[in-house]
């Protein structure tokens, strides 16, 4: 089925009149619908992260104390005559029961939503009369804006973490595999020790010693550093195996016969030959970082309020009571799910493209 589709895609691209389509166009055509959807999802999430102030409607920390746990509001299209006020409007919510946090819509009044105003994609006239597209949290903060800002942490933790752990893994693995001998032995025993530590508890223990007074940015980098420190070992071992097999390839011997130094052979022959695998493995390990950060934040050890991450937004959903009454607080989970699945699909696709032998 899958093979059939890729064959058809192949035939289509072969029969296409513009035989020399650019690399991206060709890849796009060959990708399955799932992969395209994943790519679009990730592009969108990174766009959210890059331009959070634009996409968010409000300051993510602004608390509207009169409207805690407000449900998502319906959006209405304005009548043509009212377009001078705004294309869309919503009926404002009024809290009718403070104890039960019951809201009713005030159908007589309208809050107009303005597009591209005050540097936001969409927002209302003032924060005191807000439009909560995805509802608000217990402190009356706009969940949508917080998800947008939270994407910064959640999307970057994966990229940065993989960047660090993979550069460590590639360097250490390539050195170990190429040099061999005592260095190899030491590095591999060290990595075994590290791999035998139960990683999530180790992560918890390390995260627990992050001082509570640290800034969000510093905490973020600490979390990335801790997770990278835990995850380089397994990767370095695989790279080491590949490096030591490449080491005895005739082209490495030929390079030595031409007078290439060790450093040159490692950077020029060993690392490029493991890079295809590394890219695939990196893509497939990003979800681990995203989930790791989410788990830490969920337990309150990660990014601290009032800063938002998808993980700490979900922390409110830990309480079944909360969840039953305000189900919209689960929405950040959908974002985590989409991001993780997208990276997995994309990674699988990259593996099929870069390493056809493992497809199956």
């Amino acid at each position: 089925m899958n093979a059939d589709r890729s064959l058809r895609a192949h035939l289509r691209s072969a029969a296409a009149p513009e035989t020399r389509a650019s690399g991206f166009t060709r890849e796009w055509r060959m990708a399955s619908r799932t992969v395209r959807f994943s790519a679009i999802c990730l592009a969108l999430f990174y766009l959210l992260a890059a331009a959070s102030p634009f996409f968010a409607s409000y300051d993510p920390a602004y608390q509207n104390r009169t409207m805690p746990d407000c449900p998502p509001m319906a959006l209405h299209l304005s009548a043509l005559s009212e377009w001078s006020h705004g294309f869309f409007y919503a009926h404002p919510m009024q809290m009718t029961d403070a104890a039960e946090r019951k809201f009713t819509q005030d159908m007589s009044r309208r809050v107009y939503i303005h597009l591209f105003t005050r540097g936001h994609l969409f927002t209302t006239d003032s924060e005191s009369e807000p439009y909560f597209m995805l509802g608000s949290d217990g402190l009356g903060r706009d969940l949508y804006s917080r998800i947008v800002y939270g994407s910064r942490v959640s999307m970057c933790v994966g990229l940065l973490g993989v960047l660090i752990s993979f550069s460590l893994g590639i360097t250490i693995g390539a050195l170990s595999g190429y040099l061999g001998g005592a260095i190899d032995f030491l590095i591999m025993r060290w990595s075994e020790i590290e791999m035998s530590l139960p990683s999530f508890y180790f992560l918890l223990a390390l995260a627990a010693v992050i001082p509570s007074g640290m800034s969000t940015v510093a905490t973020f980098f600490m979390i990335v550093a801790i997770m990278s420190f835990i995850s380089w070992a397994g990767f370095a071992r695989i790279i080491r195996g590949m490096a030591s097999s490449v080491r005895s390839r005739p082209y490495v011997e030929a390079a030595r016969a031409l007078g290439a130094s060790r450093w040159r052979i490692i950077t020029r022959h060993i690392i490029p030959s493991v890079l295809g695998y590394a890219i695939v493995a990196a893509t497939l390990s990003i979800p681990g970082f995203i989930l790791g950060e989410s788990a830490l934040s969920l337990l309150g050890l990660g990014i601290q309020e009032p800063a938002a991450s998808w993980g700490n937004l979900l922390a409110q959903a830990q309480d079944v009571q909360n969840l039953a009454r305000y189900p919209w607080i689960l929405i950040p989970g959908i974002f985590i799910f989409l991001a993780v699945m997208s990276f997995n699909f994309l990674g699988d696709h990259l593996r099929d493209r870069l390493d056809p032998a493992s497809a199956g």
């Binding site: 005739p250 011997e253 031409l258 290439a260």
Partner: protein
């Protein structure tokens, strides 16, 4: 003519768990500029170990335990590793048996030759490209301007070996060592590659060391021949002299075991009985005596001296 590269009683051993294996045991030969020396022997006779010793590219388990390798009045065995790196590729270059795998599949051939040039010389990007194309042209690759951007998988085996030669010669070395350069190629391509090596040898004044097990190739291309057997030199002479007048019974055995087209039809092809001895536990005396048709009791007792039996013709055998 004064030899350019001289190997003097070289001894190289592999140190294995079973003990010391003498892969090269007192081998001497030399090569002069513009000449081609053939190094002939069976598998395990120490041909490749000799060549790798010259480059000092032996595997970790092996060590050079004695002898001298004199190149331009310097003993290569006394150079430091960084000094040796300037000799490899720049002074002495080497091509290997498998052209299919001796090129890195992930880079274009042009970038690999360019890399080889820049290992030893500081050249600009344009200059490197120009020299790369010239190197490809020199080894007879058609349309080198386009070919330089090809990947190894786009080339045939013969073309890849040409690329390897271009790469080896890109820094104008004085010595080229070819370790069975044509074993993996079919016969017609074999002849093309060897003709190319001979042509370059004459044109550039290269000293070539050709390692092979094929006496036919040696007869056709070599100026001098060194016959190795079980880590030792059995016979050494100018090629014409050796084939006209083989002295060592081993050499004779080799020559007799070549099938001819003009010989008597219904005769069995003659072969040397037995097989090459274990390098771990070689026979005493002459290494060849257990298989030698002319062996006498003394052969197992006396280590035959390697001496001149005729002008320019050396052999290690007490029976000639």
């Amino acid at each position: 003519m004064k030899p350019l590269l001289e190997v003097k009683s070289l001894r190289t051993s592999f140190f294995t768990e079973a003990g010391e294996v003498r892969a090269v045991d007192g081998v001497s030969f030399s090569v002069a500029p513009g000449k081609l020396t053939g190094l002939v022997g069976e598998s395990g006779s120490g041909k490749t170990a000799s060549v790798l010793s010259i480059m000092r590219l032996l595997p970790e388990s092996a060590r050079i335990v004695g002898g001298e390798i004199i190149f331009e009045d310097r003993n290569l065995l006394e150079l430091s590793e960084p000094e040796m790196r300037h000799v490899r590729g720049a002074q002495i270059a080497m091509i290997f048996q498998e052209p299919m795998t001796s090129l890195n599949p992930v880079f274009t051939i042009g970038s690999q030759i360019g890399e080889a040039i820049r290992l030893h010389q500081q050249t600009s990007r344009a200059e490197t490209r120009h020299r790369t194309i010239e190197a490809l042209r020199m080894v007879g690759i058609a349309d080198p301007e386009r070919r330089t951007d090809d990947y190894p998988h786009q080339l045939s085996g013969g073309m890849r070996q040409r690329v390897m030669i271009a790469m080896a010669l890109s820094c104008n070395p004085k010595v080229l060592m070819a370790d069975e350069p044509t074993t993996a190629l079919d016969v017609t391509i074999q002849a093309q590659i060897l003709d190319l090596i001979r042509e370059l040898q004459g044109r550039l004044g290269l000293a070539v060391i050709l390692v092979t097990h094929d006496l036919g190739i040696v007869a056709e291309y070599a100026d001098d021949v060194t016959i190795l057997y079980s880590a030792r030199v059995m016979e050494q002479a100018p090629s014409a002299e050796l084939f006209r007048n083989p002295l060592n019974p081993y050499t004779r055995g080799l020559l007799e075991s070549i099938p001819g087209v003009d010989g008597a039809r219904h005769h069995r092809l003659r072969a040397i009985p037995g097989s090459i001895p274990s390098a771990l536990n070689p026979p005493s005396g002459c290494r060849f005596h257990p298989r030698c048709p002319r062996a006498i009791p003394d052969c197992s007792a006396i280590d035959p001296p390697f001496e001149a039996k005729a002008p320019n013709h050396y052999a290690a055998c007490i029976r000639v």
